[in-house]
Symmetry: C2
Subunit: 536 residues, 2 copies
Amino acid sequence: MNTAAVYHRTDSEYAFLYGDRDHLRLRLRTAAGDVKKVSLLYGNFVEGSYTHWYDGDGSAMQKYLSSDYFDYWTATIEEPIGHLPAYGFLVEDFSDNQYLYGDRGLVIDSPSARSDVATNYFRLPYMHEIDRVMSPEWVKKTIWYQIFPDRFSDGNHDNDSKVTKDWSDNQPSSQDFYGGDLQGIINHLDDLADLGINGIYLTPIFKSPSNHKYNTSDYLEIDPTFGDKNVFKKLVDAVHAHGMKIMLDAVFNHGGDESAQWQDVLRNGQKSIFADWFVIHDFPIHFHETELAYRPDKNYESFAFTKDMPKWNTANPEVQDYLIGAAAYWTKEFQIDAWRLDVANEVDHHFWRQFRSKIKSINPEVFIVGEIWHSAGPWLNGDQMDSVMNYGLTSDVNHYFVDQDITASQLVSQYNDRLMNYRDQTNEAMFNLLDSHDTMRIKTRAKGNMNLVKSAFAFLFLQPGTPDIYYGSEYGMAGKEDPDCRRPMVWDKQQQDLNMYDFMKRLIALRHDNWQILSEGKIFWDKVPVENRLLA
Amino acid sequence: MNTAAVYHRTDSEYAFLYGDRDHLRLRLRTAAGDVKKVSLLYGNFVEGSYTHWYDGDGSAMQKYLSSDYFDYWTATIEEPIGHLPAYGFLVEDFSDNQYLYGDRGLVIDSPSARSDVATNYFRLPYMHEIDRVMSPEWVKKTIWYQIFPDRFSDGNHDNDSKVTKDWSDNQPSSQDFYGGDLQGIINHLDDLADLGINGIYLTPIFKSPSNHKYNTSDYLEIDPTFGDKNVFKKLVDAVHAHGMKIMLDAVFNHGGDESAQWQDVLRNGQKSIFADWFVIHDFPIHFHETELAYRPDKNYESFAFTKDMPKWNTANPEVQDYLIGAAAYWTKEFQIDAWRLDVANEVDHHFWRQFRSKIKSINPEVFIVGEIWHSAGPWLNGDQMDSVMNYGLTSDVNHYFVDQDITASQLVSQYNDRLMNYRDQTNEAMFNLLDSHDTMRIKTRAKGNMNLVKSAFAFLFLQPGTPDIYYGSEYGMAGKEDPDCRRPMVWDKQQQDLNMYDFMKRLIALRHDNWQILSEGKIFWDKVPVENRLLA
Ligand SMILES: [Ca+2]
Ligand SMILES: [Ca+2]
């Protein structure tokens, strides 16, 4: 047996409370095809020395998902929270060798190894409800629709920027404004409801000089080209009246260079009361309005080394109060249902713990989604985020269905490893998407082949998680990378792909009818010919 | 190559900030003897796409510690905090196959795999000082001395319990009182200083009816048989005047049945204002003064299922305020240097995060040690505890040096796996002990063979961590399991093992002279004949 491949980690995605408070779910990883049987020995630590729960054959674990390298075994225990679980794995290879795997590692199974309750079992000493990793239940039932407000619908010409591009011009530059706003979204909520959407995700709407608004000037104001607090209140109320949820985008890694705080630092240097709000290596700051983003002498931290998005010093309690206070304000005063956290991976864990604690104290049903493109385990242990944007799945799906450069078994292998990176309830809350304002649109990636696009969407909607549609995908919108993926919404009926709309509407209905089994059910893969590019 | 054995986990004991703020330490685990070479590819994520830092051979990692199953490779990177590290491992086997191991798992090394910066590298996106796992620097220089106050020295007969056993009677029952107190400790600080001790760890001293006081009645009062706040203040001042630190024992998992809160619940049942302070399954409570600990109908949670130590509901914010408030009180008003947390593994993580946050805000130099006998990774990620009582090492040392039932290579293998369970700075703060009030004394385990005892102490003092001596070990005190391990301190010179005292004093001096290299140095094992029972 491949003994060095056997892996378990307690109090992690390998051992966690799931679903009802009484369920403990355990996983064990072994080398693929290497192990015949895994059984679980499980009991109460204190009682072990006299009840000998570790005698016998244990209970068989299920070989659940597999990948090219690994088999993942799973078992669910129904045991009240508050007992004192100890557990070990009996691992049997194809030569009938049996090992006991516990807190001391792998040992040859023997009565003496088993009876050593104090040392040879994993411990999850006491299962506390307050430490349970959980997301709001409504998330699993939600189909999201991502809106880039400047490009969705212009409902009020009075708030337009001085120069706006004509809506029919579908070649945006990175600097263009189109006049889209919150009123435009309100005007189209009936349409989104018709499609079956019940979650609206808006990229940033707070005051900012850019069209994308990821360089926030003021976290407590709606950008005037989008509307004001009154129209935003109207939007939230209308969203809720449609039975939908609303998610805002918070950019807490960095601010914009037009913020009052950064401007004060530029003016007053080290003497600014905001000097410690940013990550500045020395003064005076090397900042020149007119220069390019990358400068060898830049002496402050910023997003992606650009000059105009200075990084917040989120370790400073004043900054924590300002940013988390702003999120609390919108959550409390405007009944926001969810937060998408921009560049969440570059902000410290300490900050996110405080953020979660504050927001969930206002409303425990708020959903928190981080923008993290790589494996995000350290943020998903219940103390920070509920979910992340699942770009890993995006990549797998695109490679298999669209680029067609991986096989079905590669897709399954990669995706299974990915699923086993997180607790099941985290998978059930994953923010699943095929494209966004940060990527090429899937139709363009598929070179216009709508069958491939539909297959990819169908696969996405059958997975555990909460699926998302980037605005206009339902009408077959195309676009290369930013800024081309941010074209104005196609409202002209002549240009709408109504066949795609019909497909999307039926797919959404299917998901709504079956959300529970799709989200919480077990996954089984059937092998199908590669040329089908479909998996059951 | 054993591909399924290759393991790394980012933002964990496998990837962490170490020492100076500019050092990132990485580890990789492979199957023992299976891999010829591991090299590290490392660079800045954003810059990767144009600087191609991933070209070339990378920098070689050191094969550091090994166990029966695993080799652990390590490398330390000097890179300012705040950059955006991406990294991957080039793993070369003895058949000259080379793999790239990153966020997507193991792939055959190729130019295209390497250039895929967005997907095939591990990310530690931004290294934040505030998330760094660190313990107070003074801990590494400290030699602890554990005192069980009722049994150490009686400095004031006026505060004795009505019935006390004669100090010369060294057969304590679990109910006996001997009259030891805080004044007795003050009286002997010069002696402890002479031995070289610079840290005093007291088992609980708060108000409680028992001799061990692990069933606290009032967390805000000194037990009257030990003294009062004045004499405690005197003790703390005297400890500090001797250049020593003081650690108290906090029992936050459960209270004692004589606490005002539990008594109120017994009197008023569900109507008690403290009804939600405990974990009670239903009312009325089945509690009978006169009955034994285990009852089949017991309907509330308690420590080890005993009846007289009801478990606190630490998820209740009122309980959090009371218990953490008490710890804050002693930390702030009495300048306590450290907390030992009883049954720390059965209290929720949420509570410990709040505890740490509060205590470190009062004094960041306070040391926090959990009582956790098994692997304690989930508590040692920088947000809860600095250290745990290292009973795992206790067990290894006892089996090798005292029981002599494992070989030197088994000791090294087990201990190396154990070291690699934690970040290096955590190992350097481990609370290392051979025995305590909860175990048989080592002299008794060694059947009186003081050469074995000395070998075990010598090994302990050469390890990274902060070594501890259980009171009286310096004079060769013996004792079987509780209550026998809690005999009154041997102050009678006729009964003191002065040879052991001399050995201990020299060992302590050696540790003081070499604490930095012993604590922070790299570990190398030389093979020596098993019969020596000594390792260099
Ligand atoms: Ca407008
Ligand atoms: Ca006394």
